[in-house]
């Protein structure tokens, strides 16, 4: 039992905007009242619901390959020495599993959505998530280049495709569906890409990326998943890709859709030299189409490691930069590309990217629909979110940073003209309440009775970066894990899953396909529930 008293509570889901009131906790949940138990005196402090990261890459085969590929990052990373209650680990852009949990918790984040998981290696992701302490987790499985599903969509067999997706979500013990470069990753198996929404995907006869986007979005809705299709659009990173993004949004055709790392998809121009920001165009369309949510995917200058299922894009990045490049193929399903990358303020393209991420956060009107992410570790490391928070809250500081950009970058963007400043209330939405709602996690992102007792308490500080980087207290499920700014305690998190209905007969359809096309036997493919640590099944809602 625990009571937090005297703090200014920000609970946007219940309209609380810095109201001084107590927060009572019992049995890991927010309750109406408690008598007795510990009291945390939060007078003068800010109380937020725990942070929710809606899009990050922290666990699984791709991450582990990236860790192995970048020993130089491990050497210069912050080491986490083991203590009585804390396991050892290494920080850096691709932290090891225990360090990942500690880094998120240290920043006041308590729920994390691993955005891209191949079903074939879902077991690996589950292994790593079980070793990611403190935070609650969910994962999205990669489906938009799943060749079994693509064949069915091409053949017009929508119902069967839906059952395949339903079966896959169950088999992988996952929470949702990720679509990365629909058609492009399967084309990459032929050395090609799929950047045109209405062009037939290599290896197919009539299937286009637009058909995949529309079909998969509808499937996610029809399965009643709490989180809609989570989409990484075609043509990521390319100048002029605003056209692709808008076409994609039209192809979604009114279904729900969460657009990942929107920053990477908001460019105008026709080549690197003429690249410019099209955040205004994108924000206008986004603002007027409420079926979409998005996360920012903002970029910060410094070192990053790009890890994505978008294999062809990564090959291009390797050719552009000459940095080392890892490419993994996942049979029949997807792939992965890894390239360490450094964003430089002096580089015109990087400067524009930096501006675009902030522009989208400032131009999209409704904070309930745009969330703070950096597509970790692609755009910047997740523990740098506080830097972005500061720039959103303090226009003067932001303008100082803009002045440092190359003049051409300022001309090609609108960031210099934007005056909007986020309030604490709005920050609480984009780092917690909004992502929780987008993920359909009813007990996260708010401090109402019945919510999970994930609470972060900050010292008030005009420097937003300092404030959000060093929370005074962090509670996870009612347990104090960060106290006086130090990580003191570790708890185990849960993993959220969904079990959408599917026609069991689909297994008889899948079995011979596995026999013919997979190197893994059908029996070994699904993840056994025993492999999932503290699973919690959430409901699918069928209207």
């Amino acid at each position: 039992m625990l009571r937090i008293t005297g703090g200014r509570v920000y609970d946007p889901a219940h309209g609380l905007n810095g109201v001084v009131r107590d927060v009572c906790i019992d049995g890991g949940k927010i309750v109406e009242q408690v008598t007795g138990g510990r009291v945390i005196d939060a007078a003068g402090m800010i109380v937020f619901p725990g942070g929710v990261d809606v899009h990050t890459h922290v666990a699984g085969g791709a991450l582990n390959f990236a860790r192995a590929m970048t020993p130089e990052n491990q050497r210069s990373a912050v080491p986490f020495l083991h203590k009585e209650k804390l396991r050892a680990g290494i920080g850096g852009p691709t932290p090891t599993t225990f360090a990942t949990g500690y880094l998120y918790a240290g920043m006041g984040y308590t729920t994390v959505n691993e955005a891209a998981v191949p079903v074939l290696s879902a077991k690996h992701t589950h292994e790593e998530l079980r070793d990611t302490p403190i935070v609650d987790k969910s994962m999205c499985i990669l489906m938009a280049n799943n060749e079994i599903m693509l064949d069915l969509l091409e053949a017009g067999e929508y119902e069967r495709a839906k059952h395949v997706v339903g079966w896959m979500i169950n088999a992988a013990k996952s929470y949702g569906v990720k679509a990365v470069n629909p058609g492009g990753v399967t084309a990459w198996k032929w050395g090609k890409n799929a950047s045109k929404m209405n062009e037939v995907v290599t290896g197919y006869n009539s299937l286009t990326p637009a058909m995949i986007v529309g079909g998969l979005a509808r499937i996610c809705d029809d399965l009643g998943l709490p989180h809609p299709m989570h989409l990484h659009c075609n043509n990521l990173g390319a100048p002029g890709n605003i056209e692709t993004t808008l076409e994609t949004m039209k192809a979604v055709d009114g279904a729900r859709c969460h657009m990942a790392h929107l920053q990477f998809h908001a460019y105008g121009g026709d080549e690197w030299e003429t690249m410019r920001s099209e955040s205004v165009t994108l924000a206008n369309y986004f603002n007027t189409h409420p079926n979409f949510t998005a996360d920012a995917g903002a970029v910060l200058f410094g070192n990053a490691v790009t890890i994505t299922a978008d294999g062809p894009w990564q090959h291009l990045l390797y050719q552009l930069t000459g940095r080392k490049w890892g490419n993994l193929d996942v049979e029949n399903e997807t792939g992965c590309g890894i390239v360490p990358y450094t964003y430089k303020g002096s580089n015109l393209v990087n400067a524009i990217q930096w501006a675009v991420g902030l522009e989208l956060l400032l131009l999209i009107d409704d904070p309930w629909r745009i969330y703070l992410t950096t597509d970790h570790p692609n755009g910047a490391c997740f523990w740098r979110y506080p830097e972005i928070i500061h720039m959103l809250m303090n226009a003067d500081f932001r303008r100082e940073q803009v002045k440092k950009l190359p003049a051409k970058a300022i001309q090609r963007t609108v960031i210099a003209d934007l005056d909007r400043e986020y309030s604490l209330f709005e920050i609480a939405i984009i780092i917690s309440a909004g992502p929780a709602r987008a993920l359909g996690m009813k007990n996260k992102g708010h401090l109402g009775v019945g919510a999970d007792a994930d609470v972060t308490i900050y010292n008030q500080n005009p420097d937003g970066e300092m404030m959000f980087r060093y929370p005074r207290y962090v509670l996870k499920g009612g347990e104090v894990v960060v106290e006086e700014g130090d990580l003191k305690n570790s708890v185990e998190g849960r993993q959220f899953l969904v079990e959408p209905s599917f026609d069991p007969a689909i297994e008889e359809f899948l079995r011979p396909l596995f026999q013919q096309h997979y190197t893994m036997s059908f029996e070994n493919y699904p993840v056994e529930m025993e492999r999932v640590e503290h699973p919690e099944v959430m409901e699918c809602s069928l209207e």
């Binding site: 590929m69 970048t70 020993p71 130089e72 990052n73 050497r75």
Partner: protein
Amino acid sequence: MITLTLKQPPTVPLEAESITPDLMVAASNAEIRALPVFHGKRQCRLDEYFDVDGDRSDQIVVRGDAAKVKWLGRGMTRGAIRVEGNAGMHLGAYMKGGAIEVTGSGSDWIGAEMKAGSIHVHGNVGGQIGAAYRGSLQGMRGGVIRVGGSAGLEIGMRMRRGLIIVEGKVRDFAGLQMKGGTICLMQGAELRTGAWMIRGTIISLAPIPLLPTFSHACDGHPVVLRLLAKKLAQLGLSLPFSEHDGLYRQYSGDFSVPGRGELFVWQPNAA
């Protein structure tokens, strides 16, 4: 001057990055004795392994067979370390200044990623001298490494600037992925010298087998080698450069990258 005498060679290697002039220049004898060294995973005091004489100096002498004492002079920026005996791996790694001299032999990773300073090992050394650690974009960025004996694999791997001179024979992959700087192979090298080199200069005073992706550019007596010879003369080394004695065959490569490195092979005049 501070003298550290190894009491007995450690069985498991000792990690002794605390043995640097920077840490000892303002330290009392007692403070030096208490400096941490790692014996395997156990943190110990320096004086469990060394007798310590002297204090408050940036001139250090290490006596004894320190072949298993690693990281001597790591990151040092000033002063000198003289090892009267052998030295272990990572000698002078990341150093930024000062001088290290070893009368005996060295091991691998000498001067890895060093920025400035000088290292002179009289005996033989191992591999990855002046190199980049795994995954790093660059190896040594400055300074001089001189080896009196032979050297192992991948010396100067990914070096960016600086000078490496090996007076004895060198094994495979000298100058692997070199980005700049100069390597002098006084007795030549074995296979794949300059593999994947991007820029930089390798000079071999003995014939060496060349990769097929190196092309003969020209023969001559480049002025720059005359300047280098002057510099080496200060170290007591002699680099031929005169027409009277022979010529340098210049090769360009490694075209597989493609690179713009230069490889000079000395061809003495027929006697």
